[in-house]
């Protein structure tokens, strides 16, 4: 078959419309006024206006939300990566009783519905006075990122040829040096994959943010910022569309440029099993 069949093209077109058109619609709805939207919900805006975007940027404090999300996702991701890779290496190479059990415990963490920890974390962090701080999200995010981190890195470390470590040992490396100077550099692709997965997951996370940092703006993340924006502008569809666009465009841009890595990162756990 040298030319794709017509059916294929047709189906592909349907897929494009289904996945692409809502996004496109949201984008140009943001350029309309509410009145125009009411009159012609479908058509391209006849007189595109940036007023909605101005409202979003002025009243939405999205700059701060971006910063919060960045800080929380980066720190949470780093913490999970560091602590998780240490544990993954220990579980892969160091032999001790209960090693299999501990590994199972971490992996089982992937199935745990996070909602069961919502109330206890709310109470615990409340008592510590950490509600509405960045730490309130960084720590639980890092903790819940551990199962995937350990899963991917453990599988990776086990496949690294032992000769590498034996050579290191002959040179007198301690376990720590083996890990830090030899295995981590070798694991860069796996680390990158996990880092992307954790970062995207934490960036988009909603429930914990809603519960643990919902009240004040100080640590509000992007998804939550969008949510709160709807409290004020929920009925103003063009404004909301602009807000969604502002929330989503940078991430989508990064995605379009790095899609191979991001797709691989997000499906890492599923494919490396």
């Amino acid at each position: 078959m040298h030319r794709p069949s017509r059916i294929r093209l047709c189906l592909a077109l349907i897929a494009v419309v289904v996945f692409g058109f809502p996004l496109l619609w949201m984008l140009y709805t943001g350029l309309k006024t509410p009145a125009e939207l009411q009159a012609h919900p479908w058509r391209l805006p006849s007189r595109p206006t940036l007023a909605n975007f101005a409202t979003v940027l002025r009243d939405g404090a999205f700059g701060r939300y971006y910063l919060n999300s960045l800080v929380i996702s980066v720190l949470g991701g780093l913490l999970s990566l560091l602590v998780g890779s240490l544990a993954a290496y220990g579980l892969a190479r160091l032999r001790f009783r209960g090693r299999a059990g501990l590994l199972t415990l971490f992996l089982a963490g992937m199935m745990i519905p996070v909602h069961v920890t919502l109330v206890p974390l709310f109470v615990m962090l409340g008592k510590l006075g950490w509600l509405n701080t960045h730490a309130a999200l960084i720590l639980p995010y890092a903790a819940f990122g551990l199962p995937m981190t350990v899963f991917v890195l453990h599988a990776f470390f086990r496949r690294v040829p032992r000769e590498l470590e034996e050579a290191g040992r002959l040179d007198g490396c301690s376990t720590w040096r083996l890990y830090w100077s030899i295995l981590l550099p070798v694991a860069k692709p796996a680390l990158a994959t996990v880092a992307i997965f954790n970062f995207v997951t934490m960036w988009n996370e909603f429930v914990f943010a809603l519960t643990l940092v919902g009240e004040s703006e100080s640590a509000r993340t992007l998804p939550l910022g969008l949510w709160k924006f709807s409290d004020q502008f929920g009925d103003n569809l063009p404004a909301m569309s602009a807000a969604i666009a502002v929330s989503v465009l940078p991430a989508l841009l990064v995605y379009f440029f790095a899609q191979k890595h991001i797709i691989r990162g997000l499906t890492a756990g599923a494919l490396s099993g």
Partner: protein, 294 residues
């Protein structure tokens, strides 16, 4: 190395993760179980009264809970029997000859990169009875897809599928690409039809990928929260689209019933874990039977 420094090394490597995991995952779960035994108001934790029996009894009699569970089950069934085949179809489409398939793949995976809040709001507007996208194309009930109790679950499922199909498509694509083309060539030489090739080569070799997708779909459906909450922040009409996770959330953070809400959460936890383990175990066995043990 002396055994003391060896133990020290082991602890140094494993303890930090263990500690983090314990404090923020395991300990809260244990606490949730404890909370479930009492009846207390979230805002006044000191007024807790013992209510283990009462809470549990209420759970068994709670029509809303069982209804929610039914919705979770429906969600899981639709995910596995509708979403997955669609994803497979899309993967087959993208695996074959198609101009610009990179673009298609990017597009159908894009919803996975967006925050669920954004996806939720987007679909809320698509379903809006006055200016929504769907209204102009497809007939909708007068109160809108999100307002009519008969259509809410369907509306939610469509939104959820839109978000997740790309993910499963990528998994199936990876599975498809790992099938050696020689198998198809050999079958072609033997005169097998395309359909036969599909049934005898493609499907069995896709079983591991399908298992992964099915497992993730099942687990995800049971504990699903985000889109349902964003589509119906005040709850759906007559709880027509409520799931256990959102019901639990509203019980605790709207009605402040932290004790009963914790029981709901623990029930969700137990159900998810039990179902997951059973499913994984069953899927492993099936895989071994079909693929003949490796």
């Amino acid at each position: 190395m002396t055994s003391r420094s060896r133990i020290g090394t082991i602890i140094a490597f494993v303890l930090p993760a263990g500690l983090l995991f314990f404090c923020f995952v395991l300990l809260p779960i244990l606490q949730a179980v404890r909370y479930a035994l009492f009846d207390w108001n979230l805002l006044k934790p000191d007024g807790a009264t013992w209510a283990a029996g009462r809470n549990f009894g209420e759970l068994l009699r709670d029509g809303v809970f069982w209804k929610c569970l039914g919705h979770n089950g429906l969600l899981a069934a639709i995910s596995i029997f509708v979403q997955l085949p669609l994803a497979l179809g899309l993967a087959l489409l993208l695996a074959g000859r198609l101009p610009g398939r990179g673009v298609f793949r990017t597009l159908c995976f894009a919803p996975m990169v967006m925050p669920t809040v954004a996806v939720g709001f987007l679909w809320r507007f698509v379903y809006d009875p006055q200016v929504g996208l769907l209204e102009a194309v497809v007939w909708g009930p007068p109160q809108g897809w999100l307002g009519d109790p008969n259509t809410t679950l369907l509306a939610a499922v469509i939104a959820i599928s839109w978000r997740f199909i790309g993910f499963h498509t990528v998994i199936f694509l990876a599975g498809l690409e790992s099938i050696p083309p020689e198998l198809y060539e050999a079958a072609e030489v033997d005169g097998a039809s395309r359909v036969r090739q599909f049934r005898r080569i493609t499907l069995p070799l896709l079983l591991p990928a399908a298992t992964v997708s099915a497992t993730l779909s099942l687990i995800g459906s049971l504990k699903y929260f985000d889109l349902i909450y964003v589509l119906f922040p005040e709850g759906s009409v007559a709880d027509s689209s409520e799931v256990v996770a959102t019901y639990m959330y509203r019980t605790v953070f709207r009605h402040y019933r932290a004790g009963y809400g914790s029981l709901l959460a623990v029930a969700l936890f137990v159900i998810v874990m039990v179902v997951s383990v059973l499913f994984l175990w069953g899927a492993r066995r099936r895989e071994r039977l079909v693929l003949g043990g490796t």
